[in-house]
């Protein structure tokens, strides 16, 4: 066994102590420190932890750390290595059930723990998934393919294009639906860009993840995965959707349009919201998919899909704040950026000192679009002089496109053309409801806690 294995994760004084007493990881030891005696199994050390402690797993299952410089004696009583395994059972196939492909990009739909790093390692093969979420076999025949194993913040143009290409290939090969496992942090970014890159699909393309990793008993992962599989296998909604918990309770999932969805809480299960509209459907084990609206693209028998996977990543989002200096904009232009999405205040405003910089940007051929940092509502640049001035400078209002969606769309558009009029035309032509002609009265509902009527609502309906 190599030294790296024998003292796995240990560095510095802790590693020296283990070497000095001739013991390694997975050895059952009796250890005497200046504070007393301990009996346990030497565990590998998390590489991000300090180099001054040795970790023992006690017989009771607890782990404790002993300071390396306080160890007086260690005696090995033998070796006992533990192995992780997810109970793997062959995924049953049923010719009468729909075929679903699960494409993995990372994230933790199903997972196990690596206790050297404390990291969660995804379980992914159909057998592993069947071992942890056997209900999937009642829904569909599942094939899985791991495209990437990255945290969602590391997804980028290369992965988006690869993912879109894989989705189109799967559609052409005849699957009845696609599920995409994705980390939740940037799930709405990927959902938006897929909506532009994979147009008019004949089957559901359902993105799913979890807010509580599946190594916990209370995880939302299994239920989200079941909901996503149900949607992909059975629903007639042939769009790019995000499928995640509706309320924080284990009640139902919501199907959000890829271009209108946003992660709105850093940790809650009910973090995804459709912004400025209502979700497409509810999904639950009991009722299946229950549409909330009728204007979605319907499932088709044909295998036609328009793959348009291009992206120019020389686009940036400028989140405006009062007092912003014009050099922020100048810097982007000087570094060769070709598109800027501004998240402006209110109806779409920035301060006057920025005007000359915006003028310089437009003159340099940079395409500048305005969105609102309020997220809800439309850009309306005619109401105040500020807005009219900005439009005169060549800043183009992007209606009610969400800032991240506008970023994705502009990158996608600039992958096709840099002609000013053509860019503006494409940005203004909705592909997948990224701009909607109207915001319904219930498109903006953020219930305010503490109000008597809201408290009554909460008491009656589980959150």
């Amino acid at each position: 066994m190599s030294g790296d294995e024998r003292w796995k994760g240990y560095r510095g004084p802790a590693r020296e102590a283990l070497i000095r007493f001739g013991v390694g990881v997975w050895e059952d030891v009796w250890l005497r420190s200046r504070k007393g005696e301990f009996r346990g199994l030497v565990l590998p050390r998390n590489e991000t932890a300090d180099d001054r402690h040795v970790v023992l797993k006690l017989e009771t299952g607890y782990n404790v750390g002993i300071a390396a410089d306080s160890i007086l004696d260690v005696v090995s009583k033998g070796r006992r290595e533990a192995h992780y395994h997810i109970p793997e059972r062959e995924f049953p196939t049923d010719p009468d059930k729909p075929r679903v492909t699960l494409l993995g990009t990372g994230g933790t739909i199903a997972s196990r723990l690596d206790y050297r790093t404390g990291a969660v390692i995804p379980a992914f093969s159909p057998g592993e998934l069947y071992g942890s979420v056997p209900e999937l076999a009642d829904i569909c025949n599942l094939r899985t393919e791991k495209l990437y194993a990255v945290f969602s913040e590391n997804m980028g143009p290369e992965q988006w294009i690869g993912l879109a290409t894989a989705v189109a290939r799967e559609i052409e090969s005849g699957v009845d639906g696609i599920v995409i496992g994705h980390g939740t942090d940037t799930m709405h970014h990927t959902a938006a860009v897929l909506s532009f890159m994979v147009q008019d699909p004949p089957v559901p393309i359902v993105m799913v993840g979890s807010q509580r990793s599946s190594d916990r008993p209370s995880s939302d992962a299994a239920l989200n995965l079941i909901h996503a599989a149900l949607t992909a296998a059975r629903s007639d909604i042939a769009e790019v959707l995000v499928c995640m918990f509706g309320p924080t309770s284990d009640r139902y999932g919501l199907l959000h349009r890829g271009t209108r969805v946003r992660k709105m809480h850093s940790s809650s299960r009910s973090t995804f919201r459709t912004i400025g509209d209502i979700p497409v459907a509810l999904v639950s084990r009991e009722e299946g998919v229950r549409p909330l609206r009728r204007d979605y693209r319907k499932r088709r028998k044909d295998r036609r899909v328009r793959l348009d996977a291009v992206f120019d990543d020389r686009v940036g989002i400028v989140y405006y704040y009062p007092g912003m200096k014009p050099d922020v904009v100048d810097a982007l232009v000087e570094r060769g950026y070709r598109g800027i999405v501004i998240a402006g205040t209110g109806l779409g405003h920035v301060n006057k000192p920025l005007y000359p910089a915006l003028r310089r940007a437009v003159d340099a051929g940079v395409h500048v679009f305005m969105t609102v940092q309020t997220l809800w509502g439309y850009v309306q640049m005619y109401v105040y002089d500020t807005g009219r001035d900005l439009m005169d400078l060549g800043v183009v209002p992007a209606a009610n496109m969400l800032p991240e969606v506008a970023y994705m769309k502009l990158g996608w558009v600039l992958g096709h053309t840099h002609d000013r009029d053509e860019v503006r035309r494409l940005m203004r032509t909705p592909v997948a409801n990224e701009v909607t002609p109207r915001e319904p009265p219930d498109g903006y509902l953020v219930l305010q806690g503490g109000l008597p009527e809201v408290e009554r609502f909460l008491k009656k309906h589980r959150m």
Binding site: N46, D50, V55, Y62, L113, R216, S219, H265, S268
Partner: protein, 570 residues
């Protein structure tokens, strides 16, 4: 062998040694912190009020060592819906499991260290927060965050040194409101209050000694000054086994005086189970004896007038008979004053299959349903004369679970005493609660980094720790105080006032102890504001003259007067 009867004093060393009683305690006690262990929520008095509810389910996950825990699988079989009631004043998104933990409460840590020092533990240098799985829903995450501060300590009980296996610092669980059918409801105000868990070695030789362990730990906790006191702040788990038996954990015993009968009857239950096993073996029963033989008897049950079954089938449920070959008579095997092997089977059916309207089973050792009816059921199920038959009824899926649980419990009877956690019944007996979890339910908490303890942490806690309990008690006893007076001082938390006032008054120490512990407590109960009774007041009343000759009664009269007319108010 002579068995003590229920009126005995539970201290017959010879008897318990002969059956090989081993008994230890896990004492859970809340720490008197202002805030919870992993979030900024305040600790408030319990309240049944709530603002909102959430619904969750629990799924078993793999432990660090790659195995499913048996308790986890049992709880998964119950398919419970868990409802949590949330009160905005005492719960945040952390307790809802909608936010990761914040840093460990340092005040709680320091308090726990004080107790660890008093227990003479070998202290660890780095805390590793673990997740201990609880799939019963009592914690919304599905696990309790817990860590070990020290191992291998000791306490002195009646002059005998008793081992303390470990001290844990952990978050408290929810309070259960109800558990009916497939729905279990919890209040969350108690959730995540910091708690210490003191685990003793199984060195109690009699049930009475087990209670003594608990009393010593209670005194030590009070003396530490770092714990919360009063109703609902302490719970004891009692571990019991005998020769050839298994470790059984009696959960959540709130009062120490309940411990001796519980230990006694559990020891006798294990003894009776081992005898039942021998009887079953003598009949040639093997582990595969219960693998098959069950039949739908819904039609037969329809002809009955049974308080539970009739309703179950009327609601569209099914009834099933399980044949237990060559088991006639075994189900009536007595396991305690009111319990038989059939009670254990019934418990399993109640807990795991959620058939919780009682009686939830009928069996051939209890002929109350009539010989004629049982003849029909036996015929339908294909049971022979020496066979026993158990009937269960309810929703189809629950009945399928119940049939399996009957078999599982009978197989366990052949193995002896199943490892279980049990709950206390009022008469000192116990009932099955869950399968006993193993170390497989522990896994590291990836949300929190290890917490290194440094010399300052240890020094601060050492400075805060009082003198050892034995020393303090010896000093008080040396002043002539009785055992009961010492306990009264400790348990009313007025021992500090006693020690402060003692050098400043001329009263006999026993009289002072009476005033401070018993008399003030009584006055407080009568609504008198006893907060003013500090060392200054006592010194002004009894600091001079003839106070040394005052009787208990005379001294008390003076104190009552002083507190009621406010003459000595500052």
């Amino acid at each position: 062998m002579r068995e003590p009867d229920s009126a005995n004093s539970f201290d017959d060393l010879e008897f318990y040694a002969a059956i090989g009683l081993q008994c230890g305690l896990e004492v859970h006690r809340q720490l008197a912190t202002e805030h919870k262990l992993f979030c900024a929520c305040p600790v408030r008095p319990y309240s049944p009020l709530y603002d909102a509810e959430i619904l969750r389910h629990m799924r078993p996950t793999l432990s660090e060592l790659g195995e499913y825990d048996p308790t986890a699988l049992m709880e998964f079989k119950t398919r419970k819906q868990i409802i949590y009631r949330l009160n905005r004043d005492t719960v945040c998104t952390y307790e809802m499991d909608d936010a990761p933990p914040f840093a460990l409460n340092r005040d709680a840590l320091e308090r726990a260290l004080v107790v660890a020092i008093m227990l003479n533990l070998n202290l660890v240098d780095e805390l590793h927060v673990a997740r201990k799985q609880y799939l019963d829903g009592s914690i919304p995450t599905g696990f309790q965050r817990t860590c070990i501060l020290g191992v291998g300590g000791r306490i002195t009980v009646n002059g005998r040194r008793i081992g303390v296996r470990q001290l844990g610092l952990e978050e408290d669980a929810c309070r259960e409101v109800s558990d009916v059918g497939h729905t279990r409801t919890f209040l969350t105000d108690r959730l995540s209050i910091p708690l210490i868990e003191v685990v003793t070695e199984s060195q109690a030789r009699t049930p009475v000694e087990a209670a003594e362990f608990a009393r010593v730990i209670r005194r030590l906790c009070h003396l530490s000054g770092v714990v919360r006191t009063g109703l609902g702040t302490v719970r004891q788990d009692v571990n019991v086994s005998i020769h050839g038996g298994s470790r059984v954990e009696i959960k959540g015993v709130p009062r120490i005086r309940q411990i001796p009968p519980l230990v006694h009857y559990e020891a006798l239950r294990q003894k009776a189970l081992l005898e039942a096993r021998e009887a079953a073996k003598a009949r040639g029963l093997g582990p595969d004896a219960f693998d098959e033989g069950d039949e739908d008897v819904t039609a037969e049950v329809r002809r009955l007038d049974h308080p539970v079954f009739s309703q179950a089938v009327a609601e569209g449920g099914r009834a099933r008979a399980v044949v237990l070959r060559r088991c006639a008579g075994l189900l009536a095997w007595p396991l305690g004053p009111t319990r038989t092997l059939a009670s254990e089977v019934s418990d399993r059916v109640r807990v795991v299959a959620c058939l919780d309207r009682l009686p939830n089973i009928a069996h051939t050792d209890d002929p109350s349903l009539g010989q004629a009816w049982w003849r029909e059921v036996r015929a339908r199920a294909g049971a022979a004369d020496g066979d026993a038959v158990v009937v269960v009824a309810g929703p189809r899926q629950d009945v399928a679970t119940a049939v399996e649980e009957v078999r599982i419990r009978m197989r366990e009877a052949l193995a002896g005493v199943p490892r279980e956690t049990r709950r206390a019944l009022p008469n000192g007996e116990t009932a099955f609660e869950r399968v006993l979890p193993g170390p497989d339910r522990m896994y590291p908490d990836t949300d929190l980094p290890p917490v290194a303890l440094n010399d300052d942490d240890f020094e601060r806690a050492r400075a805060r720790a009082p003198a050892p309990l034995e020393e303090v008690e010896a000093r008080w006893r040396g002043l002539g105080l009785s055992r009961a007076q010492v306990d009264a001082l400790l348990f009313t938390d007025r021992f500090r006032l006693f020690d402060e006032a003692l050098p400043r008054v001329r009263l006999r120490p026993t009289v002072l102890a009476y005033l401070v512990a018993d008399f003030l407590t009584g006055l407080g109960r009568d609504g008198v504001d006893v907060g003013r009774a500090d060392a200054d007041l006592l010194a002004s009343l009894y600091g001079s003259g003839t106070a040394g000759t005052l009787t208990q009664k005379e001294a008390a009269a003076q104190l009552r007067e002083a507190l009621s007319d406010g003459r000595h108010a500052p």
